[in-house]
């Protein structure tokens, strides 16, 4: 749990001088015997866009629903804006929510869906109409006011659901997998729009997603969860570049995993010893060495003396063309025949004349090699 308080380096987080907007402390949630959340601690600053990311069943949605008061936590406290909201019912909390299903009221027009939360508040009708029009403009659907939800596309429905949620100017916006039900193209487009909208409104936002790309591209800070615990909190670049655990390294982005043993400041990959600055490891510890495919650098083959220059001779077993780069499968005797995957640019492939069966040398830059205690799951 040490990682939970990490990652205050990001620009949007408020410094230590003012209290965080949302404070989650010592949160546990049990469903019968199953523990869905274990001692979760998290602070979120005002105006931040935070993504909860993790595989299904990791507890991210449970955490969101606890914040919303829909499935109250078993233990622990949640404070919002300085007030303890731990045992307030949803109606007494201050948030807007968008679900994966959108949950638009099918028998009400778009206008009346958005106005739903504005009625009963002693607002004059003209003011409500003006606000609805403003919101429709904001989500870019000014023409659709009189349509029914079923007459709109999925992406349009999602935007209406968003407009309805922010209509009452909530202090907190909760998004539960809001893009999962959409086509890939619409999804990428909406990512950008939601992020823009959030920046414009400055509303503190929590989004739950299982899509790491979504999280990386939208979040100010990411909360990576697994088995009901927070594995790491940090900005997208921190998470990607400096994963705190093998799980994070593996779940966010892609990584090669090689089983090895730590000894005297080095780890052995087959016959090659790599220097590592990993700390807190004692000699003889079983470790997993991780390196991302794009961090493997290709060099021309030089024959037997490759190892001398810290290079590893390998053979290409397969190549897949993925548009902007080649995914290349490698194998080398010196590596103990552990298969590796590397992403080589078009340029490199052309320059080194790489093809299946060809040999080359690869470089594993020391600052890109990550070493974690233990073996992969």
């Amino acid at each position: 749990m040490n990682a939970a308080s990490a990652g205050h380096a990001n620009p949007t987080s408020v410094g230590g001088d003012s209290a965080p907007f949302l404070q989650i402390a010592g949160l546990w949630k049990a469903f019968g015997d199953f523990i869905a959340l274990r001692d979760v601690n998290l602070d979120i600053a005002a105006g931040e866009f935070v993504c909860f990311l993790g595989p299904s069943g990791c507890g991210k949605t449970t955490l969101l629903r606890a914040v919303a008061g829909l499935d109250p936590q078993s233990r622990g406290t949640i404070r919002q804006g300085g007030n303890d909201i731990s045992n307030l019912p949803p109606s007494k909390r201050d948030y807007g929510i968008v679900f994966q299903s959108y949950a638009l009221f099918p028998n009400l027009t778009v206008r009346r869906n958005i106005a739903f939360g504005l009625e009963n508040t002693n607002r004059p009708k003209a003011e409500i109409d003006a606000r609805v029009a403003e919101l429709l403009d904001l989500v870019g659907l000014p023409e659709q006011a009189t349509k029914y939800p079923a007459q709109l596309s999925g992406g349009q429905q999602q935007r209406i659901a968003l407009a309805r949620a922010i209509a009452i100017k909530p202090g907190l916006l909760l998004l539960d997998e809001p893009l999962s039900a959409l086509d890939a193209k619409v999804r990428v487009h909406l990512r950008h729009e939601i992020k823009e909208l959030q920046r414009k409104l400055g509303v503190t936002t929590i989004m739950v997603t299982h899509d790491q790309e979504e999280a990386l591209s939208m979040a100010d800070r990411m909360v990576v969860m697994n088995h009901g615990v927070i594995e790491q909190v940090g900005t997208p670049t921190e998470i990607y570049r400096h994963p705190a655990s093998l799980f994070v390294a593996d779940f966010v982005g892609e990584t090669n995993k090689i089983v090895s043993t730590f000894s005297q400041g080095t780890v052995k990959l087959g016959e090659v010893a790599l220097k590592t600055d990993a700390k807190n490891l004692t000699d003889g510890t079983a470790v997993t060495v991780a390196i991302r495919p794009e961090d493997i650098l290709p060099h021309a083959a030089t024959g037997d003396n490759a190892a001398a220059g810290g290079l590893l001779p390998v053979t290409i077993t397969d190549m897949e063309f993925l548009g902007s780069f080649w995914r290349t499968h490698l194998q080398g005797k010196t590596l103990g025949n552990t298969p590796l995957v590397a992403n080589f640019s078009m340029n490199a492939v052309r320059r080194l004349n790489l093809k299946t069966g060809a040999t080359l040398n690869i470089e594993l830059p020391a600052d890109r090699v990550l070493v974690f205690a233990g073996s992969p799951e």
Binding site: M1, N2, A3, G26, W28, A30, I35, R38, D39, A68, G69, L70, P72, Q73, S74, R75, G76, S86, N87, L88, P89, P90, S91, K92, R93, Y95, G96, I97, F99, S101, A103, F105, P106, N107, L108, F116, G117, E119, N120, Y148, P149, A150, Q151, R164, A165, A167, I168, P170, H227, G228, V229, E231, Q232, A244, S245, F247, G374
Partner: protein
């Protein structure tokens, strides 16, 4: 980072959310409707159950007498039990009595003469030894002295005891006991025939390309619109003592199991058909294609694909039919003759012999198969649902001349049977005086000239049906909403759910009898509603509660579960969501519930036969009573009135549904 080794919740109290106004209102609503179900169902049933264990009998050892000679000198005291032992005046059977039994004290003194100067003293040997002097209840262990003129007016009263004596008596009475056998016999036979016929019918509808499918579907539903005893009347006209086709029976009598079974098949057919049709409609085209590609014969495909796919539907249909037949009262009453069944026994014990305690015993006996069938059916239904949710490609039948013709013949025969019986009733209603004057007239519709309640009974039925439809739909849908769309309060919701399912397991007769025990008790503050339209509405709503509840639940489950969280995050009260979204979206289901309640309120006999009063006589009961009085043609005419009304109501419901859908549900069309 690894998973925390600490794998259990830290100690401390669990977080409980404060209740907001919505939660309080929802729970209050649920509590009110649960209270309704407790008062209208659980308490009456409990009262009836406890009544079945109560017996009344004279306990002679509790009374002691002292007699003087003519000079007024009293002899030794002697107990009534001792006198009886020597003189054998009252037999053991005579000692058993009912709650208002009386035993004259003079019985114990064979040479009693009310003119003699002899004086009598009586006292109780225990504190509870009630006896009447004239109309004054005495209960004392002190000697009371009476002259012979007064002693003549002394009656001993039975004392109440609790125990299984009633059941012992019931099971040692061969006549009563044979009713169990009879009931089971007709229920099993009817079930086999109905399920067989309706399976064939449903199979033809879903797997053939025969013509007139729409007409067949319509005809198959006709029996729902009439009281269960109407086919009995038609059968009497066909095969009764003066029946047109009596000779076809080759000497067999239609009065008895034969008539009951034929009539039962008629009125249970649509119920079984609906269930089996649903089961067959979930068939997966791909399974049949797979079977064909494996070169399985049609016969083999039928047994390995069709039957297993429909098995839950078949089981469920069998249990529903079984319960309907075994709990039905109208049909055996009309055409059962001397053939006793359980439902008839209840009626005879209560109406005929005024033996309410024994009526309660038979009710409990009847409750057992109904509850068992209900439990099995619920288990099977759950499995059926899980089959339904899987995605499949609907089966598309291909034309096959021979097979289609066979299907047409099968369905045509059944449709002829259904339409035939109703047509016979119509004919019976219009013919002046069967079989002597066959000219047509509306004389039989002049109900005011017959016993049974006249046209007022018909008006009462309409009133009951409308009230039941409106009030029942309101209660049932609101209750279902509260239980389905609220959070937490698991225990309360579980109790509510149980109460809502219970009515399905309770036969109408049993409910009616339970109402007598519960509401006809002067000590009950609700006693005032006894004999009014109110109690009829309450009993009918309660009797048909479960199907409505299930319909509402199904509709509510199809609504996005996230509407409530969204509304509360927008800080809107649930009743706004309920009235603006939930009710409009569920309108088709709400209309279905109301027409279901209307039609059943028009046709039900068993639930109301014990609790109607002279000014709340109902059309369906009038059919029964006119038939009982020998006015069979007017009974048929009244039955047809119910049919017209229900058919019109259905038509109206269909048109209204369409109109409302077109008007308010524009959102359904893309």
């Amino acid at each position: 980072m690894t998973i925390s080794a600490n794998d259990t919740l830290p100690k401390g109290p669990s977080i409980r959310l404060q209740l907001d106004r919505d939660a309080i209102i929802k729970r209050a609503f649920m509590a009110v409707i649960a209270l309704y179900l407790i008062v209208a169902l659980a308490l009456p049933l409990y009262t009836m159950l406890s009544k079945s264990f109560v017996t009344y009998g004279f306990d002679l050892s509790r009374y002691e007498f002292q007699v003087s000679d003519e000079a007024g000198v009293f002899g030794e005291p002697v107990t009534a039990a001792a006198i009886n032992e020597t003189l054998n005046i009252v037999t053991k059977d005579d000692l058993l009595s009912s709650s208002d039994g009386r035993l004259s004290a003079t019985e114990f003194f064979p040479d009693f003469n009310f003119r003699s100067p002899v004086k009598y003293r009586i006292r109780g040997t225990v504190p509870d030894a009630p006896y009447l002097v004239g109309l004054d209840l005495q209960n004392s262990t002190d000697w009371q002295e009476y002259d012979s003129g007064t002693f003549r007016r002394i009656n001993l009263r039975p004392v109440k005891s609790v125990g299984p004596q009633n059941y012992v008596e019931y099971f040692s009475n061969p006549t009563l006991f044979s009713s169990i056998e009879n009931s089971l016999f007709i229920a099993v036979i009817s079930t086999i025939i109905t399920v067989g016929l309706s399976f064939g019918f449903a199979y033809a509808l879903s797997r053939s390309c025969m013509r007139f499918k729409g007409a067949f579907k319509l005809i198959a539903m006709m029996p729902i619109l009439v009281p269960s005893l109407l086919p009995g009347i038609a059968l009497i006209y066909l095969f009764g003592n003066q029946g047109i086709l009596k000779s076809l029976l080759l000497g067999q009598s239609i009065y008895g199991p034969l008539g009951i079974v034929i009539g039962s098949v008629f009125f249970t057919f649509p119920h079984a058909l609906i269930i089996i049709s649903t089961a067959l409609s979930i068939a997966d085209q791909r399974q049949y294609e797979a079977a064909e590609s494996l070169r399985a014969s049609k016969w083999r495909t039928f047994w390995t694909v069709t039957i297993p796919g429909a098995r839950y539907g078949l089981i469920s249909a069998a249990f529903v039919t079984f319960t309907l037949v075994i709990t039905d009262f109208g049909l055996p009453k009309v055409i059962g003759g001397q053939y006793n069944v359980l439902a008839i026994d209840i009626y005879k014990q209560v109406i005929g012999q005024q033996n309410f305690e024994m009526g309660a015993v038979v009710s409990v006996v009847l409750l057992i198969p109904a509850v068992l069938a209900f439990i099995v059916d619920r288990q099977v239904q759950k499995k059926q649902v899980s089959l339904l949710s899987s995605r499949s490609v609907p089966y598309q039948p291909k034309p096959n001349r021979k097979f289609d013709l066979a299907c047409l013949v099968w369905c045509g025969a059944i449709a002829f049977f259904i339409v035939g019986l109703i047509a016979i009733c119509q004919m019976a209603a219009l013919i002046k005086f069967w079989p002597y004057d066959l000219s047509l007239s509306f004389n039989n519709y002049a109900f005011d000239r017959m016993d049974g309640g006249g046209w007022a009974a018909y008006q009462n039925s309409i009133k009951l049906a409308l009230l039941t439809a409106v009030i029942g739909t309101l209660i049932i849908f609101t209750g279902a909403y509260m239980v389905e769309k609220s959070d937490g309060f698991k225990f309360g919701r579980g109790v509510f759910q149980f109460l809502a399912m219970l009515p399905m397991a309770v036969p109408g007769m049993v409910l009616g009898l339970a109402y007598i025990f519960f509401f006809n008790n002067p000590a009950n503050p609700l006693n005032a509603i006894y004999g009014t339209m109110t109690i009829l509405v309450i009993s009918t709503v309660t009797h048909f509660y479960t199907v409505g509840h299930l319909t509402a639940l199904t509709a509510l489950k199809q609504i996005d579960a996230e509407f409530e969280p969204v509304a509360s995050s927008l800080r809107q009260p649930f009743y706004k969501l309920f009235s603006r979204v939930t009710v409009p979206v569920c309108l088709p289901a709400i209309l279905d519930i109301s027409i279901y309640l209307f039609v059943n309120a028009m046709t039900t006999v068993s639930a109301v036969v014990f609790i109607y009063s002279t000014h709340t006589a109902l059309a369906s009961v009038a059919v029964l009573n006119m038939d009982d009085a020998g006015d069979i043609a007017p009974a048929a005419a009244m039955g047809m009135m119910i049919f017209y009304t229900n058919a019109a109501a259905r038509l109206l419901h269909m048109l209204a549904s369409r109109r409302i859908l077109n008007h308010t549900q524009a959102w359904r069309t893309r």
